[in-house]
Symmetry: C2
């Protein structure tokens, strides 16, 4: 079976967590909205009332006739099928719980540049974004990354959940990559507090499938339309 991933064709965004899982797994997939006419097809699927339920938003994954939306839900589905999650139900819930905590963090990363909501431009909420970014780095980054650093530090490693790489490791790789792009100065200062996460990031980035993906054109460069945005005013 060849998967079809549907996501905005010009950004990493939330789709990237799914792309990383498909790439690491060596799964056959098409990044469907990047093909000719693909974005139109994506929009049509979201408005398709015969889909039960239609996705609320991209990304979504088509696996044969099944259409699965919400990043953490897609990873839950892929994880057990491609060795990126434990086999036991308890293990799956444990990993999914960590992914949902990453989901929460991703919302706050986005809100750092869009505190007044996703419906207004950044340029129309810059002073508020400066304030929220300060709070984000003062309180929220230490809380979220400190939590994952703790788990990484006390696990037997080399990965967060033990010997095998999981979709959570891939997502944490992306978090570190994204923060380095969006907030280079602040991230550089902060990294001394998260040595295990930085090591985990490096370990994931060196995995053959991930390294090949990052060098390929399938990896869309970071830009200021995605979740992670580099706005110098926010990186003090």
């Amino acid at each position: 079976m060849k998967y079809e991933l549907f996501y905005w064709p010009t950004i990493q965004g939330r789709g990237e967590y799914v792309r990383l899982a498909l790439e690491e797994a060596g799964a056959e997939y098409v990044d469907a909205a990047r093909r000719k006419g693909g974005e139109k097809r994506m929009m049509a699927m979201m408005n398709n009332r015969r889909l039960d339920p239609p996705p609320f938003a991209p990304p979504f994954l088509k696996a044969n006739k099944q259409v699965i939306a919400q990043v953490a839900n897609i990873l839950l589905y892929l994880g057990t099928r491609h060795g990126l999650a434990p086999k036991s139900e308890a293990g799956q819930l444990r990993l999914h719980q960590l992914q949902l905590t990453i989901t929460d963090f991703v919302v706050e990363i986005h809100d750092a540049h869009h505190p007044l909501g996703p419906t207004l431009y950044y340029e129309d909420q810059r002073p508020q974004a400066v304030k929220r970014s300060d709070e984000f780095w003062k309180s929220r980054v230490p809380k979220f990354l400190g939590y994952f650093e703790d788990i990484a530090a006390r696990g037997g490693g080399p990965y967060l959940d033990g010997r095998r790489v999981s979709y959570v490791d891939l997502s944490l790789f992306q978090i570190v990559e994204g923060l380095r792009y969006a907030f280079p100065k602040r991230t550089k200062r902060f990294e001394r507090n998260i040595p295990c996460l930085v090591a985990l990031h490096d370990r994931v980035g060196a995995r053959p499938n991930i390294a090949a993906y990052l060098r390929s054109e399938r990896r869309i460069p970071f830009n200021t339309d995605g979740i992670f945005r580099h706005y110098p005013a926010l990186d003090r």
Copy 2:
């Protein structure tokens, strides 16, 4: 087995989605942090490095030795065990996807009164909250509730996913209840657009276990410490 639910003892908050599921299921549970010494025990569990992983935040559910955090993850666990979710994997993923979309909406409900982040008081971000609440009602409420209204309208009913009540129905009940409390004027004006969701709300509220729960002292009244907060300045 008697479940133990751990959540802040004085608010409905995110714990309420779990409370409603446990109540509808008629499950044996203790709202542990509302007992004497319970909040202290909750904090100790969050700092317990032997838990793998410890919860990032309440709510979490203790089921024998398993500790499960993140609302949608807890409902995923409870749903299959208590007839609040379909039995097939595809059906479970479909329902979980809807719950994760509710999770996204809950974040935006919270951000309407805390646009500059959870670390500052409402009083210190009131003008921004006014602006964000306006955007929330102009764009986001119609988008989220319109999505669920569509699904409810075209389903065979009486519940969102068919004949049987699911945890998603319970959560949508709570969303309508909460919006009515937090934004009585705006919700009253908006309800004409979501007749099926209002009917679903009434149907859930009339279920014997839910009705008994709502009348009991186990239901904590809404207040301005939870997710849904009634601030007249935001309800124009």
